[in-house]
């Protein structure tokens, strides 16, 4: 066996066990009427579960909620993260402490962050609503029309540091010469940023958006800890909906089909992205 295959084999083996088998099993389940409460009475039902999912308005609503969430949250995190990364890069003093402090939210386990904010923003117990009411503002953070944005804010609080990390790494790896040249040519800070920094940073930006976006699709803990999908179905993200369907309502076959539907949509988007980047790289 050739060298390269031998190198790849352990990885392949682990992949099959840890990823491949569960994936295949879920695919099999999605073609049946599997429920946790009828494990020994499983009947093959072809693409029925997929058809059910397509006709389920809650499924589409969950997808919409999730994708909207990802778009808004990742955009905010990118914008804020870039600004903070630029600012951190310039900082000369107390660098280590500042950086580790500002990066800390991403290392806190998300359920803890969710519970923390649940009570920070709680109408009766929370410090923030109390402060706001001192200024005469009565804002129900988890009320109708608002819970979604509160969840976005919590995500931004926790994951902007992640973006900062990636972008900072990217910024520090950029070569100095173009900046030298720009400075010598008398370019303004903004011009330098737009014409020099951003283009060189583009591949980093793509990776950051990709990784954070894929992760944001899985948002679950905040919904689980605080809103449980409510009010109505405003914060019912796809991960939470699939969890509810499969684990709470026992309907694993439907849950698997829904998850595969999500996978199809995302892979489609990712392939598009890949193609575009490949094309850009070749040109």
């Amino acid at each position: 066996m050739s060298f390269r295959i031998r190198l790849l084999l352990p990885l392949l083996a682990l992949f099959v066990v840890a990823v491949g088998y569960p994936l295949a099993f879920s695919f099999y389940i999605s073609l049946t009427n599997y429920k946790i409460t009828n494990r020994f009475d499983v009947k093959f039902s072809g693409l029925d579960r997929y058809a059910d999912a397509l006709h389920d308005s809650a499924y589409w609503s969950a997808l919409t909620v999730t994708f909207t969430f990802v778009l808004i949250a990742v955009f905010l995190e990118l914008a804020l993260g870039l600004c903070i990364a630029l600012a951190l890069q310039r900082q000369k003093r107390v660098r280590d402490f500042t950086r580790s402090f500002l990066l800390s939210p991403m290392f806190i386990t998300p359920i803890a962050v969710g519970l923390m904010f649940r009570f920070l923003l709680n109408q009766q117990l929370g410090v923030i609503p109390t402060l706001l009411s001192r200024f005469g503002i009565s804002y129900d953070f988890f009320g109708p029309g608002r819970a979604f944005f509160s969840i976005v804010l919590i995500d931004v609080w926790q994951w902007t540091p992640f973006m900062v990390l990636l972008l900072l790494a990217g910024l520090e790896s950029l070569p100095r010469q173009p900046f030298e040249a720009a400075r010598i040519d008398g370019a303004s800070t903004f011009y330098t940023f737009r014409r020099v920094t951003l283009p060189m940073l583009s591949s980093v930006l793509v990776v950051a958006i990709l990784i954070r976006g894929l992760d944001a699709l899985k948002v679950f803990e905040y919904v689980y800890a605080i809103t449980r999908g409510g009010p109505g179905t405003e914060t019912q993200t796809i991960q939470y909906y699939v969890y509810n369907t499969g684990i709470t309502f026992f309907r694993l076959a439907s849950a698997s089909a829904m998850a595969y539907g999500l996978l199809a949509v995302v892979m489609f988007l990712v392939i598009l992205l890949f193609r575009r980047v490949e094309r850009a790289r070749r040109s």
Binding site: V16, G20, Y21, L23, A24, F25, F27, Y28, I29, I36, T37, N38, R39, F40, V42, Q123, Q124, L125, S138, D140, F142, G143, P144, A147, T227, R228, G229, G230, P231, G232, T233, N244, I247, T248, F249, F250, R251
Partner: protein, 433 residues
């Protein structure tokens, strides 16, 4: 697309296909047939031995049961009961995992009433009829009728009552000398007591279970019911519409501001700190509120419990059950029968537990050492005419679906008619699948 890419895709697809076939063959190969047959004899010998491991919720009644274990061991010295306590959310998934395992992690279980239908149908639980019939002095009929109905599925007994959480109206007797007797009365009283510093009524319209649980009482008060005589869910009725309209109006007029997501603790906090005048809550919250050193602080002792207007309430119940894959059935039943016997329950209720037996509710010693005859007689009234939210299969999902629609109506996102129609359609679809 070039040939190399096509070749890679073919390789990948055949790998996936191979794995899928393997998965299909191996899935469902574990069988969980019960390994030992129970004696079925309820008169369990005092020398029976076993390690009984049970998962319970972290609630007051669990602590009380833990406290009673030494007494139990005086009668059955060789049965070791270990109680693990967890949050509600985590219990069901864990016991389901135990039920479906080759070897039971929990060989005794407590089952919440919405799960009873599904678990019994799935074969997770052992029928207890033989035990119940042959236990001397057990008097199964002593349990309130609605409670017995919950534990009986398809004519067989799968669970015996542990503690109830039927709902009632908890209010301040210093602010409202007489409890309301009709739904309209309730709305009027709440509006009257509603002031800028104190809301008329703390409501719990949280999407899902809580909304349905609370609103169910309003439905009953309006003379309605959840199921029709054909066994199907009927919510598109005039009574339901009245109930939902009243509920929504009361929420807008007399509930605390910004409380559309409130559940149990939101309402409790509000009432115990004097920010609301009343709430619909579990009947055993009354002793907690009136307890010295409890959450009510300065308001301790000022609360009273009354049946809901219309005298029909929503019922919640936890049952004891023996898992099908338990290997210690006799020891399990020894514990269950001791704890839920007349004497056992009396001890539990005196220690503060929520009652389920009629004899205990009318026992003078219990009244004396417990929370007073008035409280127990009210609880007795509540239990006698109460009904759970759901019967049959897929209850968790049905309750979620109805509760979601109700919450949408309360939040003003759907009209009352639309919400009730949608709730009815979905509930029937879910329960028939």
């Amino acid at each position: 697309m070039n040939r190399s890419f096509i070749r890679q895709v073919l390789v990948a697809s055949s790998v996936v296909a191979a794995l899928t076939i393997t998965a299909a063959c191996s899935g469902g190969s574990t069988s969980t047939k019960p390994l030992s047959s129970p004696s079925g004899n309820g008169d369990v010998a005092k020398t029976v031995s076993g390690d009984v491991h049970v998962l319970m919720e972290g609630v007051p009644d669990t602590d009380i049961v833990k406290g009673l274990l030494p007494e139990f061991n005086k009668v059955y010295p060789n049965v070791h009961v270990s109680i693990e306590s967890l949050v509600y959310d985590q219990i069901r998934d864990k016991i389901v995992a135990s039920f479906t395992a080759p070897k039971a992690t929990y060989n005794l279980a407590i089952i919440d009433n919405p799960w009873m239908g599904d678990f019994a149908k799935a074969g997770f639980l052992k029928p207890l009829d033989a035990y119940v019939k042959t236990t001397p002095g057990y008097e199964y009929q002593d349990f309130a009728q609605p409670l017995r109905d919950i534990g009986t599925v398809n004519g067989k007994i799968y669970g015996v009552p542990f503690y109830n959480y039927g709902l009632g109206l908890i209010y301040r007797k210093d602010q409202m000398p007489q409890p309301p007797r009709t739904l309209a009365d309730l709305a009027a009283q709440a509006a009257k007591l509603n002031t800028p510093s104190e809301a008329g009524i703390a409501m719990q319209p949280q999407r899902g279970y809580k909304a349905f649980e609370e609103w169910g009482n309003y439905l009953f008060a309006a003379g309605g019911s959840i199921y029709g005589s054909d066994g199907k869910v009927h919510l598109n009725t005039p009574e339901a519409k009245t109930a939902l309209n009243t509920y929504t109006k009361m929420y807008n007029a007399s509930a605390p501001t910004n409380s559309p997501n409130w559940a149990f603790d939101g309402a409790l906090r509000s009432v115990s700190s004097g920010k609301s005048a009343m709430m619909v809550s579990s009947n055993w919250m009354l002793p907690t509120l009136n307890k010295k050193g409890g959450p009510a602080g300065a308001l301790t002792g000022k609360f009273e419990l009354a049946p809901m207007p219309g005298d029909k309430q929503v019922l919640g119940l936890w049952d004891w059950a023996v898992p099908a894959n338990s290997e210690t059935s006799d020891a399990d039943w020894a514990f269950i029968s001791w704890l839920t016997s007349k004497a056992g329950e009396k001890q539990r209720v005196i220690a503060g537990g929520a009652p389920t037996r009629n004899s205990v509710l009318t026992d003078t010693e219990v009244a004396q050492k417990g929370f007073g005859a008035g409280y127990y007689s009210t609880v007795g009234k509540i239990l006698a005419n109460s009904s759970p939210l759901c019967r049959g299969a897929n209850c968790d999902e049905m309750i979620q679906a109805v509760g979601t629609e109700l919450n949408a109506a309360i939040a003003g996102k759907k009209s009352v008619d639309d919400a009730l129609t949608a709730a009815e359609t979905q509930a029937n679809k879910i329960q028939s699948s």
